[in-house]
Symmetry: C2
Subunit: 399 residues, 2 copies
């Protein structure tokens, strides 16, 4: 018989996807350039030419049996080594190839990371606001996701709330910095304090607590932001990376797990990922994509558009009286809505063809997310519309 | 804490991989051309030039944002449509795009198929001999794999054994034709009888029983073989396909699930795969690979080498007195060993640098598998060695 759990999930259509579909449909009516679609977190700049060149060269010059042949289940050895070397060079780490597992984007990396360090019934803490897909990602492992309420003044970690939420069933803590949806990067101070806290709790409970660090936005960091490499702070860290945003390759499903060499069982966690992959049908990212990415590890797309867009929106939002924490990276901003009900606020914005995502699904009510991975010209055109929306719908509330 | 289940799995290293590693190491000592490595089922011919051309054209001429952008979670709509059309054209089916889910090879397709139609504790029947990876594939879903003993005269289905094994907890039956490791294709007669049997049992138990058809070797069928399309025979069929062997792209992780349009809940099973993929971190095969494959759906690599090799080996093995069923496809042959203990037989062969895989892991003792996806020239050179091995180790047994 059909598995009812998965059938039930069909009901829960993502609000982000619904809004994005609405935007596309509305665009077909009035012209897509008239729809200010801030719904989807999809890179708006092409991959670097070096990536295309590397892949074309592999296809045209290398043996097709090597380019398209089976990858070992942990990834191609030379690629794992190249990833380790790049991380060591950039962040002063001491990874070896054995600490790297090549994964199908951050989603694949997280699927493996969660399964390595939890058993069904164990708890994983996540911090609000959080990427809504964490919920199905974690639920399907059998572990239980629990949400730590936010510090809305800074969107750093609310340590008081964390202290209240933790208990001895917590085997992993998930962080995402720079953060989707807040755009905020965890500071050195936050990460030091988190490491101290987790070390204390490890001693108290007598078991390891792993920090799973979801880092798809690691390379999108803005001027002046304090966004250090998470794994430097806490030994039991498993970093989950994706090239989707840094190289604008979201459809190519390529990323990795990097296990801190000082992590408990560091020498076997990547190998365990290989065992996990047997049951979830992963069996490695494509060989050709692994080989091409390995040639551009230290490159990125031209990511400057995101910072330009952020500055335009941050200035406009603060000028209009929104309460908003300045993003340190990503291509998201997360202002407080102008009424209690974030969904009602976004519904009103829709009338102005401003497509904003209400915050309820991110674990914080009363806010909204704007994904500003769109053309700067459109951001500029959206600002007078935003202004008119605020003036007409919330007279006297905005400035 | 580390998940002990996955840690335990690290002990169970695949015998096939061990033998393949031994062959590589032995090759580095005496020259790889002197090692007759029949261990690994890895295509020995390159992908068709049309595939490379299609991918290079996409990379050089199309918008990188489209080629590398997110794929919808069920696959790119035009690709799903093209797969449906190709199957309809070739097998007289009536698939629509909604019945197709693009998957990471057959492993990914199976991971989704199993989860769609079973719940933890349900039983899935597989037929010996079977691909050993089925065991971790199924175990990690929480379902229970049970093995139906073989009919060693034909390696078709042993219906008496099937009748004894089935019970009302069986929610799915897994077939693999043409078969790894036997090379045998299920005949029209076998598939008719299986369909009749399952329909009877569905009525008896009052619930659906799904047929999951693992078809990575569907395009490697030899002259005169009777190898019909499985889904034609039984409505509740979920076909799991991979391009790994037909296009020699095993490292590119591309395949699909095709749900028979007359299957129970046919309209939602592919959509359920999309929900399952959220928890196992799959999120689609790479967009560029989907798009390139869609342009060569009716092409294959030059697969003729496999039939040439099969004929050479089948003739030699029968001449030497082996009991062996003639393969109808794949690149495997599965003769009976010349002593009870297949592992002991293969150990002796190793002394002659003949790398054969004992059958125990395939669920049948006393046989061995040869993967003849190697150069024909090497197959030819291996035959006198095989002959010497039999003469010296089993005097009087072989002819």
């Amino acid at each position: 018989m059909i598995n009812e759990n998965y059938r039930q999930m069909l009901q829960g259509k993502s609000i982000i996807r619904q809004l994005s579909e609405y935007a596309a449909q509305r665009g077909s009516e009035i012209g897509y350039d008239q729809v200010f679609d801030y719904s989807l977190g999809n890179p708006s700049v092409p991959c670097p030419g070096e990536y295309t060149d590397a892949l074309v060269r592999l296809l045209e010059e290398e043996d097709p049996m090597a380019v398209h042949g089976y990858s070992p289940s942990l990834g191609i050895e030379s690629v794992r080594k190249a990833v380790a070397d790049s991380l060591n060079r950039r962040f002063g780490m001491e990874y070896e190839a054995k600490h790297i597992f090549m994964a199908s984007g951050a989603a694949g990396a997280l699927a493996h990371g969660f399964r390595c360090v939890t058993r069904p019934g164990d708890e994983i803490l996540v911090f609000a606001p959080y990427f809504p897909e964490y919920s199905p990602y974690i639920n399907q492992t059998g572990a239980v996701m629990r949400v730590v309420p936010p510090d809305t003044d800074s969107f750093q970690i609310h340590f008081g709330a964390l202290e209240e939420m933790i208990n001895e069933k917590v085997m992993a803590v998930l962080v995402n910095t720079p953060n989707n949806p807040s755009g905020v990067a965890y500071s050195k101070e936050t990460l030091c304090r988190l490491a101290d806290f987790l070390e204390r709790k490890q001693r108290e409970y007598g078991h390891d607590i792993f920090l799973i660090s979801d880092e798809p936005y690691r390379e999108i960091v803005f001027e002046g932001a304090d966004s250090p490499y998470v794994s430097k702070f806490y030994d039991n860290t498993i970093s989950c990376y994706s090239f989707s945003k840094s190289l604008s390759l979201p459809g190519e499903r390529i990323g990795y797990v990097a296990v801190n060499p000082r992590c408990k069982d560091a020498d076997i966690i990547a190998a365990m990922c290989g065992q996990i992959s047997r049951g979830i049908g992963h069996n490695c990212p494509p060989s050709s994509v692994q080989l091409a990415v390995a040639e551009v590890l230290d490159k990125t797309s031209d990511l400057s558009v995101y910072e330009r867009n952020m500055n335009l929106l941050y200035d406009a939002l603060t000028r209009l009286g929104f309460q908003v924490v300045k993003p340190g990276g990503t291509f998201y901003i997360f202002p407080r809505a102008l009424e209690e009900d974030g969904a009602a606020f976004c519904m009103k914005a829709k009338k102005y063809d401003l497509i904003l995502v209400p915050s309820d699904n991110f674990g914080v009510p009363g806010y909204f997310r704007m994904a500003y991975c769109i053309d700067t010209e459109k951001v500029q055109r959206s600002i007078p519309v935003l202004e008119r929306f605020v003036r007409e719908e919330y007279p006297g509330i905005g400035r």
